[in-house]
């Protein structure tokens, strides 16, 4: 690929897109233009929170209150901006009168004031927060792909030009990484390229179908879900005992692979146990709710733990499905969103029927589901019986027989313990028979119950359907109802974020009043409507997105001015370009070397980790037992996740302590050291180098294969010249220092193939390691 040297001649300052503005001749919309200003600058003191902080007996979140007459004036006098106290206060330069109070240090901009003036002058038409409005499918012309048509509208408005399509070698790498988390093999890439020449449309359709059908697809989507579900293989907190929730993780992979519709996916995880004729799989799915941390710290009050767990279940549901930050309402009414503290505790009432008491700290606290073949359960049950029998004998034994029987009990217990570990127990949901009352807790404290509340949902979002006994299943059904304004928007936004690096709503965790008004509102709504009306078909939705031109565009910044106007690519003139998640970087390195093991599911594994990490974090109580053989090369999804100290090779991952849906993408020296020096990468570079050397005697052919494996393309001539220089440096260094090559090649457990010259092999390995650290290798572009 020829390099296009072009200097970026940027102007002196970058101007982000102003999402909210009063543009001449443009209608002011309440939900887009007005509500964000009121919410951001006024609601802290004049918002929904009735408990504390509301000032001046004024609510600006309530139309009637904001417009009512007070002592001869109105805060908002519809149709007359100059007669409105709001405008007078905003413009006042008297510090006693000025709003917001100058000591808050957050004055409105002149544009914001102009917007409010225009809105009042035009009649102060009130509305609803956009995300609480019903999802309607916007009309799109039938001539183009609906996504492209909607994106083009925005580009036309701003006069921006869309990038050309990415070349096939870029596109197939992008698709493979996005849909499976694994780069294309050189064979797959070549097949795609040649088919693209003949028929670009069928090439992309076939490639997408192949990738969506790959078992790796489920593994790729599962990672993000596991982060949202705060999945880990230990409890967290002191002790951090190991749990066996991994069968639930495998359920997630399988659910994605068989394309379980998202409404089913939702209902089974939130309330599978309550489904009519619930199957074992349905119950297994409810492990979702039990992935929270468990606190076994001495001195903890059981009820306090139990309340914590229920709140965690509630807040996780809130973030994952509603895209709302419910946690604010633990202690007070929401400052911004029309959610009250009572709403919060009504939500908790759905989860409050758990039989879990919060006592103990067992990583397998009942209710549990045993997941094992009968051949594991039968001997365990037999061993349980033996222990019971031996104990009974011991209890009535004479003095002389005691010692022998004590030993027999100990032996039986040891045998049982090993058989018990062969039977994973997944913590799952159930509701206790006797209804537990739910109270509003003052400041969220378990021991400060106030008014009793029943299950319920905020009417501002959508009234709860049906009547009779309401339980978690009613909640799940409410979430996936066609009328629900949030669930589909929130879900499609996360998928968009996975592909484009940033959601159509930037705050995937917050669709509340404080969230930005989506620049591509119609696109978001179209996708959400499409998702629901397709029967919540996730694979179909992804296919729709990735076959659009919007997704397939080149990610290069073609025009300096376009970049200045839209540094984050919110207008979607460019394709996505961002550093891959660290787990994907690891999987890519293993795949490029041919080391990646593709088996699905099962017990977590223990890949390379420097010695002493667990010991230090647990005062020597836990020591990392590294896997050996093929378990070292399983996909990152299967790495054992100790909650208090996660796997060291990953960075910018969710901490798996509470629900996280917003990816971190930082750029630190520690990350560089990981991919430059850790065993995984050094070994993968060595193994890749061995394959490259064996593939051909020709240096250029070797370069081509190396490039294909790592960046999906052969190097350009200028690049190859630098690769050549690196190789020469390495050859010289290894020739100079006796034994250095052998040492470098000794890293990692896998065997080096016979017949390779160590100096040459080491030099190629050094080159491959360097190339694994190319920005392009680390980036999906």
């Amino acid at each position: 690929m020829p390099l296009r040297p072009f200097q970026l001649l940027f102007a002196t300052l970058f101007l982000p897109i102003v999402l909210t503005s009063a543009e001449p001749g443009r209608e002011v919309l309440f939900s887009r233009d007005v509500l964000p200003i009121l919410s951001d600058t006024c609601f802290q003191c004049h918002g929904p929170d009735a408990n504390k902080g509301r000032k001046g007996d004024l609510r600006l979140d309530d139309e009637a209150d904001a417009k009512r007459e007070r002592d001869g004036h109105r805060v908002i006098a519809a149709g007359n901006a100059d007669a409105s106290e709001l405008v007078r206060r905003l413009l006042s330069d008297d510090p006693e009168e000025q709003m917001p109070p100058p000591d808050l240090g957050r004055p409105l901009t002149s544009t914001q004031i102009a917007t409010l003036r225009q809105w009042i002058a035009e009649g102060a038409k009130w509305g609803k927060h956009w995300a609480f409005e019903r999802i309607e499918r916007p009309a799109v012309p039938e001539t183009a792909h609906p996504i492209d048509a909607l994106v083009q509208r925005g580009l036309d408005e701003t006069g921006m030009r869309a990038n050309p399509l990415a070349p096939p070698e870029t596109l197939i790498r992008r698709l493979s990484l996005d849909l499976t988390g694994i780069p294309p093999t050189p064979g797959e890439a070549a097949a795609f390229q040649s088919e693209s020449i003949r028929n670009p449309q069928s090439a992309i359709q076939n490639a997408v179908d192949r990738l969506l059908a790959s078992p790796a697809y489920g593994e790729r989507l599962a990672w993000d879900w596991l982060e949202a579900a705060r999945y880990a293989d230990s409890n967290g907190y002191q002790g951090d005992n190991e749990r066996t929730m991994w069968p639930w993780r495998d359920w997630v992979v399988e659910a994605y692979n068989k394309n379980l519709p998202y409404d089913q996916f939702t209902m089974q995880q939130l309330a599978g146990d309550l489904l009519p004729s619930a199957t074992k799989e349905h119950i297994l799915a409810t492990g979702f709710n039990r992935n929270h941390m468990i606190n076994g710290e001495g001195g903890r009050i059981a009820e306090e733990n139990r309340v914590d767990y229920v709140m965690d279940m509630t807040e996780t549901m809130g973030t994952v499905w509603l895209g709302l930050t419910l946690n604010c309402c633990r202690c007070h009414d929401h400052k911004f969103d029309p959610l009250t503290q009572a709403d919060y505790y009504r939500f908790t009432a759905f989860f409050n029927q758990t039989p879990v008491t919060g006592a103990g700290g067992s990583p397998q606290t009942a209710p549990v589901l045993e997941i094992a073949p009968p051949e594991a359960i039968a001997p365990r049950d037999a061993a349980r019986k033996v222990v019971a029998e031996q104990k009974a004998l011991l209890a009535k034994a004479a003095e002389g027989e005691k010692a022998a029987l004590e030993k027999a009990v100990a032996d039986a217990e040891a045998k049982l313990k090993s058989l018990e570990t062969a039977v994973p127990k997944v913590m799952v949901m159930a509701d206790q028979k006797e209804k537990r009352p739910t109270f509003i807790l003052d400041h969220g404290l378990y021991d400060a119950p106030g008014e009793e509340v029943n299950v319920g949902v905020p009417a501002a979002i959508l009234p709860l359907l049906g009547d009779g006994e309401l339980d978690r299943l009613s909640l799940a059904q409410w979430l996936v109802s066609r009328e629900h304004p949030l669930t589909a928007r929130v879900a499609v936004n996360r998928l968009w974020q996975m592909l484009f690096g940033i959601g159509l709503v930037k705050t995937a965790e917050d669709f509340g009043v404080q969230a930005e008004y989506p620049l591509q509102r119609e696109l978001l709504d179209w996708l959400a409507a499409e998702y629901i009306e397709s029967g919540w078909d996730t694979k179909a939705l992804l296919k729709t997105i990735v076959t659009s031109e919007t997704y397939r565009r080149s990610s290069a910044i073609e025009s300096p001015s376009d970049f200045e106007n839209d540094p984050e690519n919110r207008r979607l003139a460019r394709g996505p370009r961002f550093r891959m998640p660290s787990w994907m970087i690891r999987d890519q390195a293993l795949a490029a070397a041919g080391l990646l093991q593709r088996g699905i599911g099962g017990n977590p594994v223990f890949p390379y980790q420097p010695a002493g990490i667990w010991d230090e974090a647990t005062f020597g109580k836990k020591t990392y037992q590294q896997s050996s053989g093929s378990d070292l090369y399983r996909r990152s999804l299967y790495s054992f996740w100790r909650r208090i100290v996660g796997p060291t090779e990953f960075f910018d991952t969710a901490k798996r302590q509470v629900c996280e849906v917003n990816p971190l993408r930082t750029n630190t020296p520690m990350h560089a050291l990981t991919t430059l020096n850790s065993t995984t990468y050094v070994e993968a570079a060595r193994v890749l180098a061995g394959e490259v050397i064996k593939s051909s005697g020709d240096e250029n052919a070797r370069f081509t294969l190396t490039g294909q494996r790592l960046i999906g393309r052969a190097p350009a001539a200028e690049e190859a010249a630098i690769w050549k220089r690196s190789l020469a440096r390495a050859k010289e260094a290894f020739a100079k220092e006796t034994g250095a090559a052998a040492k470098f090649l000794a890293e990692g457990e896998s065997k080096t193939p016979a017949g390779l010259d160590p100096a040459e092999h080491a030099a190629w390995a050094a080159l491959c390691l360097n190339l694994m650290n190319l920005d392009e290798t680390l980036t999906k572009e």
Binding site: L3, R4, Q7, L8, L9, F10, A11, T12, F14, G105, R106, Y237, Q238, E297, G299, R300, I301, D447, G512, Q514, I557, P560, F563, E564, P567, E568, R577, R579, E616, A617, T618, F619, V645, D652, K655, Q657, V658, T666, N667, P669, M670, A672, L673, T674, L676, N677, I722, W723, R725, S726, A733, F734, A740, A746, E747, A766, N770, L774, D775, E776
Partner: protein
């Protein structure tokens, strides 16, 4: 000493670039590519330093006194009534029931449960006054006593939390629930770093040998919460490799690595030209920082340039990685190198049943190094603009946990209503005691200092108005002190 500590958003542009860790000269020198100031500005904006993405640190209006902070955090709740907060009346009431008027519906850990009827326990060791200031310090802390005139004791601290993890989280992040940015992350975000070769926020942990009850060091104690993760504490491990993956692979020489990194930068520079993605420029800079850390970190941890008398000051454990003494000396070396926030955490102050046993080890391992650090900084003229803070997440009950007749197992339970910390240097008045608890060390009664007040004061000493260092997240502006906190002006020098 690097002159450019704590660069601010209003610093001249070249310093701002410096603050980002971008050594542009180095980059342009080799890669010969160009990128305009807009890209740099967007980079800054994306990282929030200029406020384009939520960062809102306005021009400073307070003269910064502390250019760097060393927090000697004592996990577990050091027993204020046995160490610093002398209450003679505890001797009189020793073995008598706790007076009911002190309890008033207070909540204690489940280990205590209902506190009424608990027996009062006198201090285990005698107290004496020390120095010109006449500060009371017990015989547990002879070295700290010897520098009493350099210290400001806060004896009226109080907190909201009663168990370790929430209380530590509360003190370091302003919230009991994990996940908010910690003090070091806020300062790193707000002020940047003064070091080109090291991260701006460094954390080290230790625990005394033979401690039966050590608390876990959760990574949220130095987390960046919703701030970008490059502001989080870089946790140095307590072993020969304080930074993971720092060493080149065996057999790959530093010279070869340098050459390969030059080639890598050139290749990445080509990509930058081709795609115009400013993130590539950051990556080039961070790979350069990684390389510098490969040199700066071993140099940092090589104590061979420390004279014997300095090492001796810190005590016998100073050469052992992972001890508090080692970490204190590391803290001084990090401070000298411009690192802005250094958090040394030492676990094991949780004397539920070990006041007459393990507490001695605890003090032996921490007293001398803490005092040595203050003296060492003072000798080098660094104490004036370095703030050292010593203290834990709460205090311990003035009544006993355990059996009065069994002295070997005397203990005290968690006590959030009054506890003591000391501060030194960095714009704090030396040789004073501020605030007081009541005559039993039970409640903070004179000039109470809430945890949010301490946080506000620490930020103030760094030149930051705690109400203005905010970050927008989930639609709300967050700050370290939530909606509370007032600067304790009486202790400002």
């Amino acid at each position: 000493m690097n002159a450019s500590h704590f660069l601010r958003p209003d610093s001249p542009a070249p310093l701002r670039e410096h603050q980002l860790g971008i050594n542009r000269r180095h980059f342009f020198g080799r890669a010969a590519t160009g990128i305009g100031t807009a890209a740099l500005a967007s980079l800054l904006g994306r990282d929030g330093l200029l406020g384009a993405d939520g960062g809102t640190l306005p021009a400073p209006n307070i003269a910064p006194k502390a250019k760097r902070i060393i927090y000697l955090f004592q996990n577990g709740g050091p027993t204020h009534v046995d160490l610093f907060d002398y209450k003679p009346r505890l001797h009189q009431l020793h073995g008598k029931a706790v007076p009911a008027e002190y309890l008033g519906g207070k909540r204690f850990s489940t280990m205590t449960g209902d506190p009424s009827g608990k027996l009062m326990l006198e201090p285990v060791e005698p107290f004496k006054q020390h120095g010109q200031s006449g500060a009371w310090v017990s015989a547990f802390m002879p070295h700290t006593a010897s520098i009493a005139d350099d210290l400001c004791f806060l004896k009226s601290l109080h907190t909201d939390a009663i168990n370790h993890a929430p209380a530590i989280s509360f003190l370091l992040s302003g919230a009991q629930i994990p996940g908010r940015p910690t003090m070091g992350a806020w300062l790193n975000y707000g002020l940047g770093t003064g070091s080109q070769d090291l991260p701006g926020f460094v954390v080290m942990t230790s625990v005394s040998k033979g401690t039966s009850c050590g608390q876990i060091f959760y990574d949220f104690y130095w987390g960046s919460g919703f701030l970008p993760t490059r502001f989080q504490g870089a946790k140095f491990r307590g072993s020969r490799d304080p930074v993971l993956y720092l060493n080149n692979p065996d057999g790959l020489s530093p010279t070869l690595r340098r050459g390969l990194l030059d080639d890598l930068a050139e290749l990445n520079g080509m990509k930058l030209n081709q795609t115009g993605d400013p993130e590539i420029e950051t990556r080039i800079a961070q790979y350069e920082m990684a390389y510098r850390m490969q040199t700066s970190v071993p140099e940092l941890t090589d104590f061979s340039d420390e004279p014997e008398h300095i090492l001796a000051m810190y005590g016998p454990q100073v050469r052992e990685p992972g001890t508090f003494a080692y970490n204190c000396l590391m803290a001084r070396r990090l401070a000298e190198r411009g690192v802005g926030f250094i958090q040394c955490m030492h676990a094991g102050w949780d004397q539920h049943n070990s006041l007459t046993t393990e507490l001695y080890n605890q003090c032996r391992d921490t007293d001398q190094p803490s005092a040595a650090l203050v003296q060492d900084l003072k000798m080098r003229g660094l104490l004036d603009d370095t703030l050292v803070i010593w203290g834990g997440e709460f205090g311990r009950t003035p009544f006993i946990q355990g059996d009065l007749a069994n002295r070997e197992r005397w203990g005290r339970d968690h006590h959030p209503y009054a506890f003591t910390s000391w501060l030194a240097g960095g714009g704090v008045k030396p040789g004073i005691t501020y605030g007081a608890s009541d005559d039993l060390g039970f409640n903070a009664v004179e000039n109470p200092v809430h945890v949010h007040d301490l946080q506000a004061t620490i930020l103030h000493l760094s030149g930051i108005d705690h109400e203005r260092l905010t970050y927008r997240f989930q639609g709300r502006y967050f700050r370290l002190t939530d909606v509370h906190g007032r600067v304790v002006r009486d202790i400002l020098a």
